[in-house]
């Protein structure tokens, strides 16, 4: 059910206002003007004026329908409606389960997506008050700090996440990256070596370890880990750049040129891909996908709280928003089947 709120209310009132204006126009056109005026006005002026009036009336009539059918809203307005719905979903969830850490953390992430990171951090911290054993929340806080360039703070959050779940993928790499940014290369290497023990096939960890060794001017070890990275993923473009750099420093010019050739080829493909991706970017589609994903997350919370009907409702909405997503349909089917 669509419930109007702040922004949508604004949109509704805009339409209502236009409706009122439309009525006024109609009334005024119906009311008879003083005879003196009509007499003085030549017919060739009246005809276009009538056309303009009818045009205006049609425009407002069409606009007035947009209250029930949003197809006449601009893309900007449609996205505003979607964002409002998304925030309302989060607020509703918060009203339903105020003491639930998953809910509070979800609300935080929605704020983050809306660009309100200040509010997002507040909710993420509140989620931790409710349940301090949430590594994902610490991870999120780590990223907020990192994007602000607060590397020390990001390390603190990620280390806390690690204390809760030592095997959470990506955490040590993130810590290592921040450590490298702080020129603490040897500590970064330590973290990455540990990570590789747990995730020996992590391409990114091997690449980053190569970077850390490169910073330490240990070119042999850097080369070794870049090579492992491309053994695991032969299209890992950045590792070829690392190999080129390491080989150049080791004065292995022929090898360096070889790696550079592959890097150039893969980089050209990457650029082509980025161009295609940018060309295909559609703000509305992306927005619908994000909102759909949040409906799924909310559905999971409702389901976990035993409210399957509400979860189903939200899943249906998610499928409507992102009809191409097969996973959502499968998820929906699995709930139906269990029922």
């Amino acid at each position: 059910m669509f419930t109007p709120s702040a922004t949508t209310f604004k949109l509704y009132s805009m339409v209502k206002h236009k409706k009122r204006r439309k009525r006024k126009t109609k009334n005024s056109s119906r009311s008879q003007p003083p005879a003196s005026v009509t007499k003085k006005r030549p017919k060739w002026v009246l005809a276009p004026a009538a056309v303009v009036c009818v045009g205006i009336a049609c425009f407002f009539l069409l606009k007035s329908w947009s209250g029930s059918d949003s197809s006449l809203l601009t893309q900007e307005e449609k996205i505003a409606v979607l964002k409002t719905e998304e925030m309302e979903l989060a607020q509703q969830l918060l009203r339903d389960f105020p003491g639930n850490d998953a809910t509070v953390s979800f609300v935080g992430s929605v704020y983050g997506q809306h660009g309100n990171n200040t509010e997002a951090v507040k909710f993420l911290n509140k989620a931790l008050e409710l349940n301090p054993n949430r590594p994902d929340v610490y991870d999120a806080l780590g990223w907020v700090a990192f994007t602000k360039g607060a590397y020390e703070e990001s390390i603190t959050h990620w280390k806390k996440a690690l204390e809760i779940d030592a095997k959470l993928p990506g955490l040590r790499s993130s810590i290592a990256f921040s450590l490298m940014a702080l020129d603490r290369g040897s500590e970064a290497i330590e973290q990455l070596e540990k990570n590789i023990q747990i995730f020996p096939k992590s391409v990114y960890s091997h690449f980053l370890l190569g970077q850390a060794y490169l910073q330490q001017k240990d070119y042999e070890n850097a080369k070794k880990h870049y090579q492992i990275a491309i053994e695991l993923d032969q299209n890992y473009v950045n590792a070829y750049y690392g190999l080129f750099t390491a080989c150049t420093r080791l004065k292995q010019q022929a090898k360096a040129r070889e790696y550079m050739a592959v890097f150039k080829k893969l980089k050209a493909e990457e650029m082509k891909f980025q161009k295609a991706r940018d060309g295909a970017y559609n703000d509305m589609v992306t927005m619908r996908q994000t909102v759909a994903e949040n409906h799924i997350k909310a559905a999971q919370i409702y389901r976990a709280q035993g409210q399957s009907d509400r979860a189903e409702e939200l899943l249906e909405k998610a499928i409507k928003l992102d009809p191409g997503n097969v996973k959502y349909k499968q998820f929906y089917q699995s709930i139906k089947n269990r029922k």
Partner: protein, 566 residues
């Protein structure tokens, strides 16, 4: 065991206390080290009323957000540095009551500036983006070139405080492109200045791509537009130029060009060209000594950052930050990217040392633009200034960790190959929050330290006076070419003062689409005199000057061993 007498004990006690106080003072002085650079905002007292416009009307045309650079140069040869601001112009859908124009301000001394635009005849009404200054006709006064959206303009200095638009005669209008940075350089070592013109992208109103992000209209990435090659003009020596883009090797490389700087990075006696390209690899055009270029950015390690990633590069400048006698490069970039410091390894290669040196501090959440290596505190090493301000004028609406109006960044060189972000302690000038673009650096009050002028998008500029408490000595050098170009553009200067060796080069066009610093500035720390100055002029001639007292501006003339004050 010998027992100490009471007197001895009390003296020991006093000694310990004294030592503690000394330690405390040392620690305190280290803590206060950040305050050694102080930049004061003196904009209001300068009388400068210029206000930048980007000519926008809400359509988000891409060139709006990259305007503009500025130039600091002595247009009237009266010994002080004047200011030329570039301005935007009305774009489609925008009308102004008064047509915006560029503005030239004459430095009257005492931090007062007078608008002499009309009198000088340089109120260009084009859509200004970049500027370079150089005496292209070697007649003893400084001319300048503006790189615009639309035809470019070459202003010839008449030597009487006025200029003449000689674009048509010189043949350097450069078609109708979206311009960027520009540089004068003597690429073929024939004694006159050639012209490198950076081009941003292929744009026309019918190619405009309206884009929105989370429902908010934003500026599109340049990837939506085709990149175009830069242009290179050879000076014919008769007031005209020939476009040699293709034959010089520049025309084979298309990029989204932005800031440029020319410098002899490989010490082979000729000037090379560095171009910062937006969202793509940077170009390094190595000069073969005859004005023919080979693009070697990738092999030299300058094209990408440490990870092999291209960045949204904006401005570029060079300077020897670690005093190893080689020019290093600093390139500014887009949000979520670190502005990058490329250290020159001396073998034709560069190494991204941003993280190792702390030179990226504070830049990650910012879009960064104008930049330079400047020894603000005259302590003998070059600090870094970075102009900031987001490209999207509504960024806060979809990401509150970013800001359209931002404070600029000041990184102090510790002297040990590291930088420390001292923006918070750098005086009220570092607290100004605007959306900066071009930044330029020179000694505006001739007091021996470097001041700052910043062009802010859609707003008034910022003028920062260097009020650093440092009492470091200094030397400023102006070059006079005789056989080579008049202002020594491309000449390299080495200054040796005791254990300190500094290098610099005269550049024309640098940073973010700006021009500044034709008189070279050397901070000397506590050294009161310079033992030796070596000037290597374009073409290889070397002049040596010995025993020069510090704290003054001197002029060194090619082939003349006499040192002229001022």
């Amino acid at each position: 065991m010998v027992k100490l007498s009471r007197v001895q004990e009390s003296w020991q006690h006093v000694g310990q206390r004294f030592a503690l106080v000394l330690v405390f003072l040392c620690v305190l002085s280290q803590m206060c080290a950040g305050a050694s650079i102080v930049l004061r905002d003196v904009t209001k007292k300068t009388g400068i009323t210029f206000k930048h416009t980007d000519g926008s009307s809400g359509s988000h045309y891409i060139m709006e957000t990259v305007s503009a650079g500025l130039a600091l140069f002595d247009y009237d040869s009266d010994g002080d540095t004047d200011i030329y601001f570039l301005n935007g112009a009305a774009l489609k859908g925008k009308k102004f009551k008064t047509t915006p124009r560029n503005a030239l301000y004459r430095n009257e001394g005492g931090w007062r500036f007078t608008d002499v635009t009309e009198k000088a005849g340089v109120g260009g009404k084009e859509y200004g983006l970049g500027v370079a200054v150089g005496d292209y006709d070697n007649d003893g006064d400084l001319d300048f070139y503006t790189n615009n959206y639309g035809p470019n303009v070459l202003y010839q200095n008449n030597g009487d405080g006025t200029f003449t638009d000689v674009t048509k005669r010189a043949g350097v209008a450069n078609g109708f492109k979206v311009g960027a940075g520009a540089c004068f350089l003597d690429a073929d070592k024939d004694g006159d200045l050639d012209l490198y013109v950076s081009n941003y992208l292929d744009f026309s109103y019918d190619k405009h791509v309206p884009i929105s992000r989370r429902g908010f209209p934003v500026y599109a990435t340049p990837r939506y537009y085709l990149p175009i090659p830069d242009d290179f003009y050879r000076n014919n020596g008769d007031g005209t130029f020939t476009n040699v883009t293709e034959s010089s090797g520049v025309g084979q490389h298309a990029g989204w060009g932005m800031g440029t700087v020319c410098a002899d990075y490989d010490n082979d006696g000729d000037t090379d060209v560095f171009v910062a390209n937006d969202i793509a690899k940077n170009f390094l055009f190595r000069n073969d000594g005859t004005g023919k270029f080979e693009e070697v950015g990738l092999m030299a390690g300058y094209a990408y950052d440490l990870h092999g990633d291209q960045q949204g590069n904006m401005g570029v400048d060079c300077g020897d930050y670690d005093n190893d006698g080689l020019f290093d490069f600093y390139v500014t970039s887009y949000e979520d990217q670190l502005a990058t410091l490329y250290r020159n390894l001396g073998d034709g290669m560069f190494e991204d040392v941003t993280m190792l040196t702390g030179a990226g501090a504070g830049t990650l959440p910012q879009v960064t633009w104008g930049t330079s290596f400047v020894d603000f505190d005259n302590d003998g090493d070059r600090d870094i200034y970075i102009a900031c301000g987001h490209l999207q004028d509504n960024v806060e609406l979809y990401d509150d960790t970013k800001a359209y109006l931002a404070r600029n960044i000041l990184l102090m060189n510790t002297g040990h190959g590291k930088f420390v972000d001292i923006s918070d302690k750098g005086g009220d000038g570092m607290k100004v929050k605007l959306s900066s673009r071009g930044a330029a650096f020179d000694d505006l009050d001739n007091d021996g330290d470097i001041d700052v002028v910043i062009l802010n998008s859609r707003r008034e500029p910022t003028i920062l006076r260097n009020d650093s408490p440092s009492k470091g000595h200094w030397l400023q050098i102006r070059l006079r070419g005789v056989r080579t170009n008049r202002d020594g553009v491309g000449a390299q200067v080495k200054v040796v003062a005791g254990d300190l060796t500094l290098i610099d080069e005269v550049h024309s066009g640098r940073g973010y689409q700006s021009h500044y610093g034709m008189r070279l500035h050397f901070g000397l720390g506590n050294r009161k005199k310079v033992d030796r100055i070596e000037v290597r002029w374009i073409g290889g001639r070397m002049d040596v000057f010995k025993d020069v007292t510090a704290n003054r501006l001197i002029t060194l003339t090619e082939g003349n061993s006499k040192i002229e004050p001022k």
